[in-house]
């Protein structure tokens, strides 16, 4: 029966090509617009570490020196608090993160120096965030302690400097200090660059920068502070540091602390530990808002920072508004098409076809329109994504159509057309056989 309806549908669609084209274009454009934005939403709002993110937490104590009634602690930690909490080792794993711009060159090369971003962190970082390695290994806890002059570099930088060859053992010069490469990452592109996210509540929805690539050079935390001294940026300071860019023992918040906690009891215990630490620091007079500690899970932290740019959200709403207009358009056109063929349906009914049969026939026809529209929508989506890849946004390189979104394109197109076909099909199936035959 389905094959017969399909044949009828194709015949009917061929008969009035203009109307068919209008319907297909309407659906294709609607699907193209909504799938383009939906794909971007999907890529930007996803979990950067599926399976692991539930166990990762961002720890905050409030270093703000004024006893005001702010409800949220500062987004970052001062050096003392971060190092205290980190060295207590109360979590399964813990990592401090600090970012700074650094000048890099190769000691034996005449190439001009590069200006890159450097991540200074502690050894657990790589295991915690499942960072993939192509060559070599991460540094160890001993390297953290000894402030070893070692570095891990990104796949991009390795390609740029060493043509993708194994560069473990080579030397890089960071400002005026030599460090030895001990590891090279495999391509790693978390979306967003979650471990550096902070301050989203002040960003007014302008959060596209959270989707930049990970840093190209990574060094042990204290090593980084030594080699790039004077180049660190504060999140905020309550007193000017005596030397700009040198933030140890300054009244500045500038460090992030991530912890991994395997189960719920560990989370509770760590919360208590944070509270106790804040209380103890209050007694020492260093913290004045001990009540303001937070331990958000990775996804909660991203949510709190509103990482998906508001422009992207707005575009998604817009696209669905667009799709709904295309839907109304298609309903109208299908209705026109089916009602025009009342005579044909009357004959079928008079020859014994049930209402269900006519209804099914109409829906198959609508479905075929949806399939064609889906195909057009897929092409338009690819075009839309290509456009976004050429936009000056940090997440441009992330944008692609994955299999799931490819499937969603066609599902959405057919669902839309079936929805559009519903009302016209009901109307067509109600055609009274006798009445139509008379006018034939």
């Amino acid at each position: 029966m389905f094959a017969y309806y399909l044949d009828l549908a194709i015949r009917s669609l061929r008969r009035n090509r203009m109307l068919t084209a209008l319907m297909v274009i309407a659906i294709a454009v609607g699907i193209g617009a909504s799938m383009t934005t939906l794909t971007v939403m999907h890529l930007l709002s996803g979990d950067p570490l599926p399976g692991r993110s539930d166990h990762l937490f961002y720890a905050q104590v409030d270093g703000n020196p004024e006893p005001g009634n702010y409800h949220e602690p500062l987004d970052k930690l001062d050096y003392r608090s971060a190092v205290d909490l980190w060295s207590a080792k109360r979590a399964d794993r813990q990592a401090i993160v600090a970012q700074s711009p650094v000048r890099l060159n190769q000691p034996d090369s005449t190439k001009p120096a590069l200006r890159l971003t450097m991540l200074s962190t502690t050894s657990d970082f790589f295991a915690m965030f499942a960072v993939p390695f192509r060559y070599g290994n991460p540094w160890t806890a001993q390297d953290d302690e000894r402030r070893s002059r070692v570095a891990v570099i990104s796949d991009d930088l390795n390609a740029k400097l060493f043509g993708g060859a194994n560069s473990v053992g080579k030397t890089l010069r960071l400002r005026n200090n030599d460090v030895r490469i001990i590891g090279v990452l495999a391509p790693w592109r978390p979306s967003p660059q979650f471990y550096q996210v902070a301050g989203g509540r002040f960003a007014q929805g302008d959060t596209a920068d959270y989707y930049t690539r990970p840093e190209d050079v990574m060094t042990p935390f204290e090593t980084g502070l030594e080699v790039n001294d004077g180049n660190f940026q504060q999140f905020t300071c309550w007193h000017l540091p005596s030397r700009p860019g040198h933030l140890q023992n300054s009244d500045c918040a500038w460090l992030g602390l991530w912890v991994e906690l395997g189960d719920a009891s560990k989370v509770t215990a760590y919360r208590r530990f944070l509270d106790d630490y804040a209380q103890q620091q209050k007694i020492l007079g260093r913290i004045v808002r001990p009540q303001n500690t937070r331990l958000r899970s990775l996804m909660q932290w991203l949510d709190y920072n509103g990482v998906v740019p508001s422009d992207v959200r707005l575009q998604t709403w817009l696209a669905f508004g667009f799709l709904s207009i295309c839907l109304f358009n298609t309903i109208g056109l299908l209705l026109a098409k089916f009602l025009r063929r009342s005579g044909e349906f009357g004959v079928r009914r008079a020859l014994g076809a049930s209402r269900h049969a006519v209804f099914a026939q109409c829906l198959v026809e609508a479905g075929v329109v949806g399939l064609l529209g889906g195909f057009g929508g897929w092409l338009l989506t690819l075009f839309g994504l290509w456009m976004i890849r050429h936009q000056p946004v940090p997440f441009a390189d992330l944008v692609h159509l994955d299999t799931s979104m490819f499937a969603v394109t066609f599902v959405l197109a057919i669902a839309t057309s079936l929805l559009a076909g519903l009302l016209p099909a009901v109307r067509a199936s109600r055609v009274a056989p006798g009445l139509q035959l008379k006018t034939l």
């Binding site: 005001g68 200006r115 007014q204 707005l314 508004g321 207009i325 109304f328 358009n329 009602l339």
Partner: protein, 407 residues
């Protein structure tokens, strides 16, 4: 023309009419809001900066930091830059308008105040006012002899030595009005966290922040006479001279110290361009969506119009046979479309306000000004009339003889 017959004919096509009305309503609502968003973005792209935009060139070098006296080098650099032919003014400044990253702080009128009165950005540096071409409304600019090094300010802060700190500042008019509404700001004092009282010695017309966090505070800036080791050099010269001045500046800076990386070397407008890149892209996208929506809607009108004309061939023939002119038939379909569009537009305005309310809540957008509605209405009436013209002309071409044929 009597519209009653048209209305009664539409009543017999309730569903199709409703669909068309809904489509027009949604289009009207979305187009009104999209056009409103576009104008907001365009307004933002043209945010005034208060500076002599076309005359400025900006250079930034990577901090080397290891060797020598950074503060002395800043002074040497500036002296060298001043000697370039055509350069009128040179400034050293910690941040640039629309440069993106900024130094911000809270301002207090009373040192014991708990919460700051306003949040402002601070332009540290020397010779900023003259170089950026700011318009002085009252008072005077900061003097070269008032400039102190950041390290001595830090030292003074540590020792609580109020005398060694700067005690004069120039602020923008917008900030002056926030701090002392309606009052006289010149000569008044204010406090930044932990510092000495700062006296307002000058007020400038405008100086935008490097990055606008809060729209209402976008022009809250102060200038302090503090020399920074990590800075931007801003050069002012005639617009046509900028390329030459830039290459000479780079050469001179390189001669002074070849071991530096040039981070930024561009005319100032590049900052504005980059800062508003997203807004321009979004405005373009919204405009594209508006056009696409109107096209889709007009295609819908064409489709339904053709269907109705085909369906009513016989009636049209009868009307023609009874004496109706072609013009009357044409007018019939045009009026019909006008009625449908009007109903759609009426509904669309309600929807437009609903969408605007939603956007106000979710994206903190302002209220949709009333004049967008007639603009949207006009656009849809126009699109409707254009779209229906084809089918209506086909209807007018139906010959009276059709009435005698059985269909």
């Amino acid at each position: 023309m009597n519209i009653m017959p048209i209305l009664s004919a539409l009543r017999r096509h309730k569903i199709t009419s409703m669909l068309l009305i809904m489509e027009i309503a949604l289009t009207c609502a979305i187009v009104c809001n999209a056009v409103f968003l576009i104008t907001l973005r365009i307004e933002r792209v043209h945010t005034p900066s208060g500076i002599a935009e076309k005359e400025l060139t900006v250079v930034r070098l990577a901090a080397v930091g290891e060797s020598g006296d950074e503060y002395a080098r800043v002074q040497a650099d500036m002296a060298a830059l001043r000697q370039i032919a055509g350069v009128e003014q040179v400034a050293s400044v910690g941040q640039v308008p629309f440069g993106g990253s900024s130094q911000n702080t809270g301002i207090k009128l009373d040192p014991d105040q708990k919460l700051p009165t306003a949040s402002t950005t601070v332009y540290y540096g020397e010779n900023i006012l003259n170089t950026l071409g700011l318009k002085l409304v009252e008072g005077r600019a900061l003097m070269p002899e008032e400039v102190v090094d950041l390290r001595s300010v830090s030292e003074a802060l540590k020792n609580n030595d109020l005398k060694a700190m700067p005690h004069v500042a120039v602020i923008t008019k917008a900030l002056a009005q926030r701090l002392w509404p309606g009052g006289h700001a010149l000569g008044k004092t204010f406090y930044l966290s932990g510092g000495a009282p700062l006296q307002v010695v000058g007020i400038v017309e405008d100086l935008v922040r490097p990055r606008i966090f809060e729209f209402s505070e976008g022009h809250f800036s102060i200038m302090l006479p503090i020399r920074l080791p990590q800075n931007y050099y801003v050069l002012r010269c005639a617009p046509g001279d900028r390329d030459r001045v830039l290459s000479q500046a780079l050469k001179r800076l390189k001669d002074l110290n070849p071991d530096r990386v040039v981070l930024i070397k561009q005319p100032w407008e590049t900052f504005r361009e980059h800062y508003f890149e997203d807004d321009r892209a979004m405005a373009g996208l919204l405009a594209g969506v508006c056009v696409a929506l109107l096209v889709v809607t007009s295609l819908g009108i064409v489709g339904l119009g053709s269907f109705w004309v085909a369906q009513r061939q016989r009636q049209i023939g009868v009307r023609r046979a009874l004496g109706a002119t072609r013009a009357q038939i044409l007018r019939y379909f045009q009026v019909e479309n006008f009625l449908l569009a009007t109903m759609g537009i009426a509904l669309g305005m309600v929807l437009a306000y609903a969408i605007n309310l939603f956007l106000m809540v979710r994206y903190e957008l302002p209220h949709l000004p009333g004049f967008y509605l007639p603009v949207g209405a006009l656009a849809l009436w126009l699109v409707g009339q254009l779209a229906v013209l084809g089918p209506a002309r086909r209807a007018a071409a139906v010959p009276p003889v059709v009435a005698t044929r059985a269909t």
